[in-house]
Symmetry: C2
């Protein structure tokens, strides 16, 4: 299969390496010439992507931040052939699908939102790996009009690339879930480290602190773009969290240990009931 | 060395197994007769602890919840010999040291607060292990009057039991740090799972959610006791966290992406500057 990959960062670079390692022909492009050169040298991409080559690719993967993803597809809409399947891989899906699906319908190419759920605390091509997606989930968010044969082919393709699970969901459902499973966790983690007391706990081990703040080291520009494109869902989750946390705060401040214990019991029971 | 251990839960049971494995003679006691029997059968304790034996122990370790720790030591204050060193191992130190040190001074025994920083998401004797403290830190909080020879002996003793690090701190410093490195993390984690959206994210992987909520499954009675005995420190940290989190919330609600990005950058920079 001929695959075009636009943007060779952590995700795009890892996808390039994964597709190449599985025998596909990958054309790649990155705005950074050094990244481009390194990807060619590594064999992650077979050749540099241009518009002529893109028109002949079976699959085009846009691996850019959300806003840039939309800008790029709009700019190139006339380049994609009628039988090309265009996927984006950014972490919000409703915004991207809403902007792109009408254009795809008009131009006759197929667009499917996708979100490979894997990451590292490092970013950029240098952090990319040909096994980043081993045992990862891939979420696909086709529209109601997407040809089911194309969806089936994509599902099989990603399983063949050794993803552990491929899930089909609506863009709306994806964005609702991602707000709590990932986005709010990044905000809480990033916020938690700001306590002055956290700046020096030399000698004290801090397992729960480390777990809680693992994802505090984030790429703020990418995440601001992701958060702003999922504002209502994320704001709702943030408000639920703040409201719940205020209950613990009030119980503690009012020395109401019965209430504090009840709040903790409720959280423990909910956690125990979650599927692992 | 003859060692008395009162309370054979996760920590007491693991200490009993650790001391026994290192050739010390351990007398143990637990309110649960089945636990007592099992600990004898395992060889975690050599014999049942009683007041006569306690009077002949070099070291007495109280492994109970904070309030019960204080109650027990007050009840047994006449049993401890003048050369006995009594340690407690609960997770708050100022409360325990404040209540016990005057009594120890009056009765002539030595009391030192201690906090072995290791745990599991399981509790009770059944979860105890003879290697729970391998590579763990031990915090000791002696008073200004504690004989430095005794402190040195304790430091060497815990290193001989294969603790990775033994740190001496004031009870106040211990409690300030523990509020952010452990206590608030447990509250945040326990609170985070309460979002209705978090109850079913079937098929979506959720690495950051899992890390953030690892310690949500807690023993609510023990933690309520710990939190209530460290109320001012924990409340201060909780208020700092709520205030900081409100900033992210406001930036998001007001669509101020410049501010949101600045908040995330600040968190990222703080996290990067933390010693690992």
């Amino acid at each position: 299969m001929n695959v075009a990959i636009v943007g060779l960062g952590l995700i795009g670079g890892s996808l390039a390496k994964t597709f190449s390692a599985h025998g596909h022909r990958v054309y790649g492009m990155d705005k950074n010439p050094q990244t481009m050169e390194q990807a060619l040298q590594d064999g992650a991409v077979a050749d540099v992507l241009d518009d002529v080559r893109m028109a002949h690719c079976d699959l085009v993967l846009i691996c850019l931040y959300p806003q840039k993803t939309v800008d790029y597809i709009l700019e190139k809409q006339q380049v994609f052939a009628g039988d090309t399947v265009v996927l984006d891989v950014c972490g919000v899906k409703e915004f991207v699908c809403r902007e792109i699906e009408p254009v795809a319908a008009e131009r006759g190419f197929t667009f499917v939102g996708a979100h490979p759920m894997a990451g590292r605390e490092l970013s950029g091509y240098r952090a990319s790996m040909d096994n980043l997606f081993h045992h990862a989930s891939m979420i696909l968010t086709p529209s109601a009009n997407t040809d089911s044969n194309i969806i089936n082919k994509l599902v099989n393709l990603f399983y063949s690339l050794e993803f552990r699970k491929v899930v089909v969901a609506t863009p709306q459902r994806h964005d609702e879930i991602i707000a709590i499973t990932s986005q709010l966790a990044h905000i809480v983690s990033n916020c938690y480290v700001k306590s002055p007391t956290a700046q020096d706990f030399g000698g004290f081990s801090a397992g729960s602190f480390k777990d809680l703040t693992r994802v505090a080291k984030l790429n703020e520009e990418m995440w601001t773009d992701l958060f702003s494109k999922n504002r209502p869902n994320l704001l709702r989750e943030l408000d639920i969290f703040l409201e719940n946390l205020q209950r613990y705060r009030d119980a503690l401040a009012q020395e109401d240990d019965t209430e504090l214990c009840a709040l903790l019991r409720q959280g423990r029971e909910i956690k125990e009931a979650l599927r692992p």
